[in-house]
């Protein structure tokens, strides 16, 4: 039955490149001038890592091919979020408002002492902290949430898997933008003008979102197999907020003075807050290191996500 094929059939390759239009054919496909070359894909048991060049090519190809779908998914999710909830997009900023309220209350009752060195009203300090923190939390939780919400699609349709991650990042950015509007309102309400360095705060904010996304993507494969991950995340992130200098200033000595070195969210958060309000660039060095580390890990996380997907789909069934 088996016919000799124009290409060797044992070439290990894998991946959801199968739905690229024929125009995306890689070199090497057969075809005559009147018939465009057909995109060819071969599935074998071997690991995708055995042909790294091909793997990287497919990754970029799929990333490029997934833009349209990612945009569509962002629009779908945001419109559904708006229509399906009475408060709609308000849910983007209600959590940080509640968290800031908690800190302000703790401060008013003296549980958290105000440090005059913070250089701004405590309420502004707490609000900026929780708004930045919420973007970090959002970025961690989003990849797993988007992927879990698309389980049935993942197990039945071969589409570029990168689209889900891009859509998740898009939603995080959208929610962050809404929260920045809240921030403007807070600054106006407390008559605190931002420092002239405020645009530079985007560096810290961006680092927070990238770091969060990387952590989220790295947890996604295991999180798809075991529900424990999502449960544990919700629990730990609540605790972690109090361990991060969101509502308190970093002291000069003691265990908490090492925050910026052991907590991935601390340095970018402190850096962004200081650039936004006081005009100082606190912890700039650590923030840049964090950005670099997160950048490298992004590529690794993406690779992990991609290689893991067929194995996960097999285990989570239909």
């Amino acid at each position: 039955m088996t016919q000799a094929s124009p290409l060797p059939t044992q070439t290990p390759s894998a991946g959801p490149a199968a739905e690229l239009p024929p125009s995306a054919s890689p070199p090497g496909s057969t075809g005559s001038p009147e018939h465009p070359a057909l995109h060819e894909v071969t599935y074998t048991p071997g690991s995708g890592l055995r042909q790294p060049g091909r793997l990287v090519g497919e990754m970029w190809g799929d990333l490029f091919a997934s833009r349209g779908l990612a945009w569509r998914l962002i629009i779908r999710n945001l419109s559904a979020q708006f229509r399906g909830a009475a408060l709609g997009w308000a849910w983007a900023f209600l959590p940080p408002v509640a968290a800031a309220g908690t800190f302000i209350l703790l401060n008013a009752t003296g549980v958290i002492a105000s440090d005059p060195a913070i250089g701004m009203p405590y309420a502004v300090f707490a609000f900026v902290g929780t708004i930045l923190w919420q973007s970090f939390v959002d970025a961690i939780q989003k990849p797993l949430a988007v992927v879990n919400a698309s389980r049935s699609m993942l197990t039945k349709i071969n589409f570029p898997r990168e689209a889900l991650l891009l859509a998740g990042i898009g939603e995080v950015l959208f929610n962050t933008t809404i929260r920045l509007l809240l921030l403007v309102a807070v600054l106006l309400a407390f008559q605190t003008p931002p420092a002239w360095t405020f645009p530079l705060a985007l560096l810290g904010l961006g680092t927070l979102i990238l770091t969060g996304t990387v952590i989220g993507v790295m947890l996604t494969p295991i999180g798809m197999l075991y529900k424990d991950v999502q449960q544990a995340l919700t629990m730990l992130l609540g605790l972690l907020m109090f361990l991060t200098p969101v509502g308190w200033a970093v002291p000069d000595a003691g265990f908490r003075s090492y925050s910026a070195w052991i907590n991935p969210a601390a340095a970018p958060l402190l850096n962004a807050r200081s650039l936004l309000i006081t005009g100082q660039a606190d912890y700039l060095g650590q923030t840049l290191i964090m950005l670099g580390v997160a950048g490298v890990l992004t590529l690794l996380g993406w690779l992990l996500y991609r290689l893991a997907m067929p194995i996960l789909i097999e285990r989570i069934g239909s």
């Binding site: 057909l38 071969t42 599935y43 779908r76 229509r83 039945k156 349709i157 589409f159 067929p310």
Partner: protein
């Protein structure tokens, strides 16, 4: 290029695990193997594992349609998932050429809150269409789905049939080289199903098709070849007629015979059925005697007899009232003889259900489902499942 090979599977195998917790743990281990780039012992079965698909090879050319048949759990859907690149084979290799369309689930990515219009764009994008493509085909999609004004209503207000129609309408606009279809057309009304099959027939010479279905009539209509799977292994690969025949045989053999269910109502004490002969040539008479034991006089009754084929479709029905024959049941033993002079059913296995009702008060005294069986034998066209009709020759 008609006739080029678009789907090629060589010795494809896939393992599954019966135990969920263990399956998840194997998933973690496989992940480790994949990430370290090792080949691992993919060939060997671990504890609780079995081959869901075992050494399956075939190829499909442009213009051909392969029917994938087999019982539930035979490995059809798993094979389709591997062809679609959703999961990787554990053995062998699969090569797919061209743009691939898969109708494994219709309406994937539909969000119930959003309107039909918005969902068409989402679904189209998921299936790999660009915005321009969807724009260009939007009117054709709405027309094909026959949902008119509802296109601007949220999908949660649709009936399940409308959702399927819209889903198929989007997928039908794909212009794939390879099309994989998994039973999605089993839903929807007959009219729409016919429309879908007509659309598939239109696409047929440009595509290589694989159709998974339990409905042999669909397989026979569309597929040139079939692949019959049994517990993951190829039981048959060849002409559709033979494959379908083998499948039917597999289906009716041994313990697959439908269970009978006999219920008698007081004052009937017992009932027994006697078939004259359980192997009949085409056109032969059928005799069935119903023996009853009654505790008291019942009076006038009538009997309904229903003949089912092996697919549990009723193919013939008889009601003794139509014959104008009176049957009375009195206290003690009595027999109701039923005779059909010439039973013109095509060859195959049949099951009979019998009901005895009282004329007065419409009471049901006996309800006997699948109480007896018989087989009709007759001339078959060699190598096919088709019964040769007798044709009157004009002199």
């Amino acid at each position: 290029m008609p006739g080029e090979v678009l789907i090629q599977a060589d010795g494809v195998g896939k393992k599954f695990c019966r135990d969920l917790k263990r399956s998840l743990w194997y998933g973690v281990k496989d992940l480790g193997t994949e990430l370290t780039g090792r080949t691992g012992a993919k060939d060997r079965l671990r504890k609780q594992e079995f081959w869901a698909v075992d050494d399956v090879s075939f190829e499909v050319r442009r213009g051909e349609c392969l029917g994938l048949i087999g019982h539930n759990g035979a490995g059809k859907s798993t094979l389709l998932k591997m062809l679609n690149g959703l999961i990787k084979p554990d053995r062998g290799s699969i090569t797919m050429r061209g743009r691939i369309g898969a109708l494994i689930e219709l309406g994937a990515g539909f969000n119930p809150i959003l309107t039909g219009r918005e969902n068409v764009y989402v679904n189209g994008s998921v299936l790999g269409m660009t915005k321009q493509e969807i724009d260009a085909k939007f009117d054709a999609i709405v027309e094909f789905a026959e949902i008119g004004e509802f296109i601007n209503a949220p999908v949660q207000s649709y009936s399940s049939g409308m959702k399927v129609r819209l889903g198929f309408a989007v997928a039908a606009q794909l212009e794939p080289d390879v099309l994989l279809i998994d039973e999605v057309l089993a839903v929807g009304d007959v009219k729409f199903r016919t429309k879908c099959y007509n659309r598939l027939a239109e696409m047929q010479d440009r595509c290589a098709f694989i159709l998974v279905s339990h409905q042999m009539s669909h397989i026979s209509f569309i597929c040139d070849k079939t692949l019959l799977l049994k517990r993951g292994q190829t039981l048959f690969h060849g002409k559709t007629a033979e494959g379908v025949q083998l499948y039917m045989k597999e289906n009716t053999s041994g313990d697959d015979k439908p269970e009978s269910c006999v219920i008698v109502d007081d004052p009937i004490r017992s009932v027994d059925f006697r078939v004259g002969s359980d192997e009949l040539p085409v056109g032969a008479p059928l005799h069935l005697d119903v023996d009853l034991q009654a505790g008291m006089d019942i009076g006038e009754v009538y009997v309904r007899l229903i003949v089912h084929d092996s697919g549990h479709q009723s193919v013939a029905e008889l009601n003794t009232q139509w014959l104008g024959v009176d049957h009375r049941i009195s206290s003690g033993a009595s027999t109701i003889p039923i005779a059909i002079n010439s039973l013109r059913l095509k060859p195959g296995d049949y099951h009979v259900s019998v009901f005895v009702h009282g004329i007065e008060g419409l009471r049901t005294y006996v309800s006997a489902k699948n109480c007896c069986s018989f087989r009709v034998e007759g001339p078959m066209f060699p190598g096919s499942s088709d019964y040769v009709l007798e044709v009157a020759h004009a002199d």
